[in-house]
């Protein structure tokens, strides 16, 4: 194998939380490292680094992805959303509030990934029941809460959304 002795680099242009970012990065750099090291966005966490724990979950072109299983180079030309988006929509804000309300975090390491996975669920599966919530977030590990409080928080937001009270509470 002719492993390169240098580390090849490439230019990446990505829209991150609504702003265009252009950086020269190593070809091997993952999206989550790109966000943390090159964009200064430390909200997305790096856990297992091989796609198991979900702590690095962000959205790429509107879909939840593992930040450690996507290269920054692959995201070139794409649109990335992280938990620290400057203008959280009513759903993300409601999820953040519900996590606090239900004590759905302790150390907080899994929380950004959990929120991004939950945001995807609330948008795509508005009718999800408790069991479907559990399946949807099964790819996100939490070692503190035992999950019940997280599921409670997500279900609360789903119920509020179904009742049509999500936007009002955020504005209040």
């Amino acid at each position: 194998m002719n492993t390169p002795l240098d580390t090849p680099r490439t230019r990446v242009q990505v829209e991150v939380n609504g702003s265009t970012v252009v950086r020269d990065v190593e070809c091997r750099k993952h999206l989550v490292d790109f966000l943390r090291e090159d964009c200064g966005l430390k909200g997305s966490h790096l856990g297992c680094e091989h796609g198991v724990c979900g702590a690095c979950t962000v959205r790429l072109d509107g879909q939840a992805v593992r930040g450690c299983l996507v290269l920054a180079a692959q995201a070139r030309g794409g649109r990335v959303e992280t938990v620290e988006t400057a203008t959280p929509g009513p759903r993300l804000k409601a999820l953040q509030d519900a996590f606090v309300e239900h004590n759905a975090l302790q150390c907080g390491y899994c929380t950004p990934g959990m929120l991004m996975a939950a945001l995807d669920l609330v948008e795509r599966r508005p009718d999800a029941d408790r069991e479907q919530v559990r399946v949807w977030i099964s790819g996100n590990y939490c070692r503190c809460t035992g999950y019940h409080a997280i599921v409670d928080a997500v279900c609360t937001v789903l119920e509020r959304q179904r009742a049509g009270t999500l936007g009002e509470e955020v504005q209040a």
Binding site: M1, N2, T3, T7, H30, G51, V65, V70, L71, G139
Partner: protein, 290 residues
């Protein structure tokens, strides 16, 4: 861990990808969805000098039906298979199997062709491809060739695809009248690798003591590739599906399987789980359609 250094080129056409493979040989790896490749690079299980990203080749993605053939482009994401009305109607086995593949965020990126070409013996798609008697479409410098699923899977991570070829699509015969599909697997947690899994399809006649024809039972996670249980199939198709016949098939299945033990399950336990999956599949296949 961080992956070793590599160069990266985004292919602009299938021919561009083939030219890069020809030029770089074993130093180049194809990158499709990356949900296995990038994880293994992070674990430093391989050290390619170049990743050829075929992810932008949208002409290799998509699901179409033409006549009696359902075609799934190699770059179709797992989630697109999972949510496709065409797949649900014409190849329900695939729709049933999709939710078992890892987790939503991984299904959003991982590709159908990537999983088939990687040929992990614990993966869902290779077993489904074999059970549905699919044809794999491979593109090389000399043009396309077609390989039957039965000839495609050769061993652990090993297929009939040559290293200078691209898997471009899988073609499935659409489900026929009276045919039924059933997929199930056993895993310790949602999304984990299957301890054992079964992709089953058959033509079903009759109710209480049904008769099965064109039965195909393909197990995953029980050998070095997806495995057809031909002895059990033969017993089950020899007459009406009585409890005695099912018991005989159970014995035939245990005799023909030779699974490896894994870190948590002995070979005997895996055989037991395979037999359980077979009984459940028979019951599901024979259940009257609603």
């Amino acid at each position: 861990m961080k992956s070793p250094a590599f160069d990266y080129i985004r292919a602009t056409s299938p021919q561009h990808a083939l030219a890069l493979l020809a030029e770089h040989g074993d130093d180049a790896h194809l990158l499709a969805g990356g949900q296995t490749l990038l994880a293994t690079l992070n674990l430093r299980l391989s050290q390619p000098a170049l990743l050829v990203d075929i992810g932008a080749l949208t002409q290799l993605a998509g699901i179409t039906v033409s006549g009696s053939t359902l075609r799934i482009g190699a770059l179709t994401r797992h989630v697109e298979v999972e949510e496709s009305p065409l797949v649900a109607r014409h190849a329900p086995l695939l729709a049933q199997a999709a939710p078992h593949i890892a987790h939503r965020a991984i299904r959003n990126r991982g590709t159908f062709g990537g999983a088939v070409a990687y040929a992990d013996p614990a993966a869902e798609w290779p077993a489904c491809v074999l059970a549905l008697n699919a044809t794999l479409v491979l593109l090389g410098a000399a043009g396309e060739r077609r390989v039957a699923a039965a000839d495609f899977f050769r061993g652990v991570y090993t297929t009939a695809r040559r290293s200078d070829e691209l898997l471009v699509a899988c073609e499935f015969p659409v489900i026929g009248a009276g045919e039924r599909h059933h997929f199930s697997e056993l895993a310790r947690r949602q999304g984990d690798y299957a301890i054992a899994g079964l992709a089953a399809c058959a033509r079903v006649q009759g109710g209480a003591a049904a008769r099965l024809g064109d039965l195909r039972l393909v197990f995953l996670s029980l050998g070095d590739r997806p495995l057809r249980a031909r002895a059990a199939e033969a017993v089950l198709q020899a007459g009406a599906l009585t409890p005695e016949r099912i018991a005989e098939a159970d014995a035939a299945l245990r005799a023909e399987l030779d699974p490896f033990a894994d870190i948590t399950h002995s070979a005997a336990a895996k055989k037991q789980l395979a037999a359980t999956l077979m009984r459940r599949a028979l019951s599901a296949l024979c259940k009257e359609a609603p």
